[in-house]
Every structure is written in C-alpha cells, then in structure tokens.
C-alpha cells in the first residue's frame, strides 16, 4: 500500500510535518519519493556530494540512462579524466553520449550553452565556480527544462532548489588480500531536498558492475531496474 499525504489546511504545518515524519520513520512500503528520487526529470537539478573515489560518478551516470534513451546526453569534464566505459556499463548507449572537455575558465559558459539545447547534462564542477554562476545556471536549467546532475566536492549554494545525494560510505566486495577481483559495491548515501519532502533519508545503492543497479530505500527495497541509480 503506498502511503500518501493529503494536506489539511485546518491543521498546523508542524502537525502535518510530524505526521509525515512518523510515516517515513515507520514506512515499510514504497513512499512517493522513492519512485522518483533516482530519476532526473526535466528541469531537475541533482547535486552529488562526495570525494573522488566515493563512487558518485557511476551514480550520476546512472541518472542519465533514462534521458539517453530518447535524446543525447552530455558529460562536461573539466579534468579530462572521464571514461565512457562506466557510462556504457550502466546502460548509456555510445551513440547517445557526448563528452565536452573544457578548461575551468570556460566551464560556466559551456554549461550555459549546453543547458539551452541538451535535455540532460552531467557535469563535474570545478571548485572555482562562484555561487552567482550556480544560480544563473540553475535558472537556465529550470527555464529550459534541462535535467542537470552536478558532481561537486562542496554543497551547492543555498537558494537553489535541488536534490542532494551525499556519499556516506562505500563497501567493495570481491577483492581480498590478493585474491578475487572487485565486483559488487554497496554505496550508502543520504538523499535530501525535495525528493523526500525535505527530510533526509538513508539509501543504499547496489552496483554489480555491468549488472542492473539496485536501489534500496530504507527497509523497503524497490523493484530492481536497469541502471536506476
């Protein structure tokens, strides 16, 4: 049974919030936010927070899988390190993937240009991007209804309505002390923002490499699907 919330104008906001928090804490079924938290919709901005090696690149790429089925998607790479192998493994077709390598100084201009014409963009954000540039890009993305996944080492500035996915922990399985090889990984993330009605939740992302990626929300696993997050 899917839990739904009907806002009641007669009740105070804090009462509604408490009720929602109670529902979320005891949820054993799929909540409205679960279905959409790992999908990028037109105009949505997703901020991925995590250091290099925290596994967020594959999470971000998996968000582009659905948009890539109908239109080209673009990866903006200011380091020049991006490898499309991972993108292909999560399910993005090579013909739908374009990579733009840019200097840090041109990053904002490139992003503004792409947001005006491309349906979904994944971008590695340089540390030097100013808050006003973030806000301007967010405005373009909302106006042009472009889905944007921003991989940053710092949180996006306040005032930008976005979905925030923060890497908490990563566990690799398959390798040992010289034996086996890296296989499955389990990534613990915290999802915040409007995806879960402003309340942060813990999620687990299971990644088997070339196998479908499985998202586990709280105690209620959603249906496994290909490269959902």
């Amino acid at each position: 049974m899917a839990a739904t919330l009907v806002p009641n104008k007669e009740r105070a906001n804090d009462e509604v919030r408490r009720e929602l928090a109670a529902q979320l804490a005891t949820a054993t079924t799929t909540l409205p936010g679960d279905e959409s938290a790992f999908q990028v919709e037109p105009g949505r901005i997703v901020g991925l927070l995590g250091s290099l090696g925290s596994g967020m690149t594959r999470v971000g790429l998996s968000l582009l899988v659905e948009p890539s089925r109908v239109a080209p998607v673009v990866v903006v790479d200011h380091r020049g390190w991006f490898s499309p192998l991972a993108a292909w493994e999560v399910g993005i077709d090579p013909e739908s993937l374009y990579v733009v390598r840019t200097e840090t100084s041109h990053w904002t201009q490139v992003m503004a240009t792409l947001l005006g014409g491309v349906r979904a963009v994944y971008a590695d954000v340089p540390a030097t991007v100013a808050d006003r540039d973030y806000r301007r890009l967010a405005g373009i993305a909302r106006r042009e209804r472009t889905a944007v996944v921003l991989r940053a080492e710092q949180p996006l500035p306040s005032g930008i309505a976005h979905w925030r996915i923060t890497a908490d922990d990563i566990v690799w399985e398959g390798s040992d002390q010289g034996h086996g090889r890296i296989g499955r990984r389990t990534l613990s993330v915290t999802v915040g923002g409007k995806a879960v009605a402003g309340i942060e939740r813990q999620w687990e992302v299971e990644d088997h490499g070339t196998h479908p990626v499985r998202v586990v929300a709280g105690l209620a696993p959603s249906q496994a699907r290909r490269a959902a997050g």
Binding site: L52, G53, A71, S83, R101, L114, G183
Partner: protein, 480 residues
C-alpha cells in the same frame, strides 16, 4: 553540362607539367600529362604522388572554382533561366521550356554551346541531353568535347552502361563479384531482392539503373521550410555573410529533419542594398547536410561578390528547399528528433567555444587498459568505425573505472612484504582494506614498454586501479 577537370583551371596550375588537384587525400582532377603517367581522378593522393613524383600537387579551393565558374552560369542563364549547379564544372539545365521556345533540342544546345565555347578555353564543355540528371550526367561524360550527346531512351541507354556508373565502389565490386556488370543487368534484378540484400544504397542504385533519379513520391513537408533573414545593417563583410549562412543552414536542415525529410536542391537568393536580386539553385545527388549547404551558400556569395554580381551590402538572404525527399535519417522508435537537433546546435556552439578537439564522442574497442578500450573521435566527423564485441585477453575485468587519467598518475604506496598496506592520498595516508592482483601485463618490446603488474587497491575512501613498474606505482583508473 560538364567541364572536365574544372578544378585545374587556376593560375597556379602549370600547363606544361603533370598536375593534379587533391581533396581529402583523394585525387579529384588530373591534367593530360598526369593522366599519361597513370593518374586517374578517384585514386588516393598517395598513389597519385607515387605515379608522378615530380608533378605539381594542388589542394582544392572550391570557393575559387565557384568564382571562376560563375561566368559560365551567367552566360547560360542569358539563354535558359533554370540552371542548377551541382559543383564547379557540372550543372544541370531544365530544357523543356527552352525546347518549345527555341524550336528543338539541336537549336537550343547549339545556342548554349556557342555561348559558352568562348569562355571554356582549352577544355570545351560536354553536353548530355536526357530525361533525368543521372542519364544526362553520364551522357555528358561520354559526349565528344564541345558537342552534345542526345539520349532518346534513358532506360535503353543506361542498360548498356557499366555498373561502375553508380559510383559506390564497394557496391560495384560486390555486383561484379555477383556477375552483374551492366546497369541493364542490375535493373532486371527484382527490386525487393536488392533492397533486402543491400538496403538503402542498393535500392538507390537499382532506381538509378532503372532510370529513376528520385523516388516516385517525393516527401511532402507540411510547412514551408524556407529560411529568410533581413538585415537592417547591410552585410558588407564576407565573414558576416558566412556566419549568417551557417546559422540559416542549420535552421533549414534542422526544420526539415523534424519531418525526416531532406533537400536535394536549394535555392539561394540574395538581395542587395541597391535593390538588385540574385538567385541560384544548387543541386546534390545526396541530401544536403548543414555543412554542405553552408559551404555552398558561402561559395555562391563569394562568387557573386568577386564577379560583380553583388556590388553592395546584402540586406536579405533567403534559402528555399526544393525537391525534398524522404531520405532523412531513419529515427529509432523512441528517439526525439527535436531534442537531437537542438542538442546538435548546442554542441556546435560549444565546439566554437572550446575548439573542435574538445567535443567528443566515443566508441568501444579492444584493449587491455581502460584507456585503450575507448576510441575517441571529434563530434561531427564521419567514421566508418565498427565496434568490436570480441573478447580481449588480458583486459581488466568490469566494473570499469569511471575516471581514467590521461597519463598514469604516480602515487605513494607503502608495501609490506609485497602487499600494499597504505596509500597516500593528497596529504594523508589511508589504510588498504583489500586488494586484488597482481596481473602481469607484458609490455610491447618494440615500443620499449616495460612489463607492469596491475592491482586493484581498495581503501576506506575509494578503489583504484594501479600499475606497478620499476618499483613505482601509478594510478590508471579510479572506481568512482
């Protein structure tokens, strides 16, 4: 009407030495001295250079060719108004109206030959008269210099021609291997069988062999795709005109793409500040692309400016598609055409911003390291690359690193009895949680490469693909 070796008509082409003109590593024209040595248009530039090592090799300059070709077109337009330019040295003229006006084919062709002969110089024009462009082009190539070859029955004429006339080398080679040597033999084959075996290119070849230049039912586009720009400030610089032409080409072709249509003829019209109007029709056997169209508009405007056709600033530019066919790109079921066109426009602007080498597409290929398994190429460049799904012994297994440095990056690893114990990331040391390997990769001795050992090292903050050579550790991939 066809002038052989028009690209050789340039002042820097010496008449007394073997000379050839090349474009994109292919010979497109050669004078008689070069031909006597075995050089033929269509062969690779390297072969041409090898056959006449002391000859003159020139790079093609299409803009100049169009400019020198302009007087020919103007001379013909004085007699027959509907002239369509395919390329410098080749044009098509719709003569049905002219035949009635002048009273017959012979009279009309004689008038045209007299008009252009004084301008043609050493290489006279060859004229082919037929019902369709394909047959007339073929007839012109076989006509005696300075004369016309009239074809009464296109089908019968084409049936005797060699199958090489269709132009596609691979397809021609296959047809010959199958025993089909003439267009007549090709036309007698069932069209369904050709379409089933060879697809679109085979179908097009069969249509040409049967005397059909274009599908019987041209594509109907529900809106007028004409693109027009009015400039309040007249354009007086060729660069300004070039930018405008490119933007208009993108808009026109993009508009047609929305309906899966493509244009084979484009009318270019320019109106100048003093009220003069010039127009020209360009034709292409293959559908125009944005680049092709932008180039032709640019060449035409340059030719008008250099030949005095346009004497003041341009205030209006108009591109009108004609002869629209359904030869547009075949879309997949889910594909959003509008999104694709808009994305390509955005990428073109980004390419102008960051340079052509920075907007890339990639294809999988074989290789041992993650960096080797990606074939990068510039976006917009044609490719005949075929992805391989064959297994590659020695390749690092999936999952693949999401980040691969362009050059292996050295890191500090503390080893304990041959096992990695700690890794230094920036300023701090992190403990190795687990590791896999080593997998030996034998270096290419002919490139002086050393043998390396590859490891997957998992730390508390991330996993890395490393290689160890000469007691130094390098990161070649980050599992991010």
């Amino acid at each position: 009407m066809w002038w052989r070796d028009w690209p050789l008509r340039r002042p820097d082409a010496p008449p007394d030495r073997p000379t050839l003109v090349a474009e994109a590593h292919e010979v497109i024209a050669a004078n008689d001295l070069a031909r006597a040595l075995g050089v033929e248009p269509g062969m690779r530039r390297r072969e041409g250079e090898a056959l006449c090592p002391h000859g003159v090799i020139l790079d093609r300059d299409v803009g100049r060719e169009v400019s020198t070709f302009e007087p020919m077109i103007s001379a013909i337009e004085e007699l027959i108004p509907r002239v369509e330019v395919a390329e410098p040295g080749l044009l098509f003229v719709e003569v049905s109206g002219a035949l009635r006006y002048y009273g017959g084919e012979d009279v009309a062709t004689d008038l045209v030959l007299k008009a252009v002969s004084p301008l043609s110089g050493v290489a006279p024009v060859r004229v082919g008269v037929a019902n369709g462009p394909f047959a007339s082009r073929l007839a012109a190539s076989q006509a005696p210099p300075g004369e016309a070859l009239h074809i009464d029955d296109d089908y019968a004429y084409l049936a005797q021609q060699d199958v090489a006339a269709i132009g596609n080398r691979d397809l021609v080679a296959t047809f010959r291997w199958l025993g089909v040597t003439t267009l007549g033999e090709l036309a007698q084959l069932p069209r369904e069988a050709i379409a089933s075996r060879f697809g679109h290119v085979g179908l097009t070849a069969h249509r040409l062999a049967s005397g059909e230049d274009r599908p019987a039912a041209p594509r109907q586009v529900p809106v007028d795709a004409t693109v027009e720009r009015v400039f309040e400030e007249p354009l007086i610089m060729m660069d300004q005109v070039g930018f405008a032409a490119r933007a208009m080409s993108v808009e026109l072709i993009g508009g047609l793409c929305r309906y899966g249509a493509a244009a084979h003829r484009i009318e270019v019209e320019a109106v100048t500040e003093d009220g003069a109007s010039r127009h020209r029709v360009w034709r292409s056997a293959n559908p125009f692309t944005e680049d092709m169209l932008a180039d032709r508009v640019w060449w035409q405007l340059r030719a008008w400016v250099e030949r005095g056709g346009v004497t003041s600033g341009i205030v209006r530019l108009r591109l009108s598609p004609a002869d629209v066919s359904g030869d547009g790109r075949q879309l997949s079921f889910l594909e959003d055409t509008v999104a694709k066109v808009e994305a390509e426009r955005a990428l073109a602007r980004v390419q102008a911003l960051v340079g052509p080498d920075q907007v890339l597409v990639a294809q999988p290929r074989g290789g041992r390291d993650p960096g080797d398994r990606v074939e990068w190429r510039r976006w917009g460049e044609p490719t005949d690359f075929t992805p391989s799904s064959a297994p590659w012994p020695g390749a690092t297994p999936s999952p693949s690193p999401a980040l691969v440095p362009r050059q292996p990056t050295q890191i500090e690893v503390e080893w304990d009895g041959g096992m990695p114990a700690r890794v230094r990331l920036r300023s701090r040391w992190v403990q190795v949680v687990s590791w896999a390997g080593p997998w030996r990769k034998t270096g290419r001795w002919w490139k002086d490469e050393l043998d390396v050992d590859r490891y997957q090292i998992v730390t508390s903050v991330g996993a890395f693909l490393c290689e160890v050579k000469a007691n130094q550790t390098f990161v070649i991939g980050v599992y991010d």
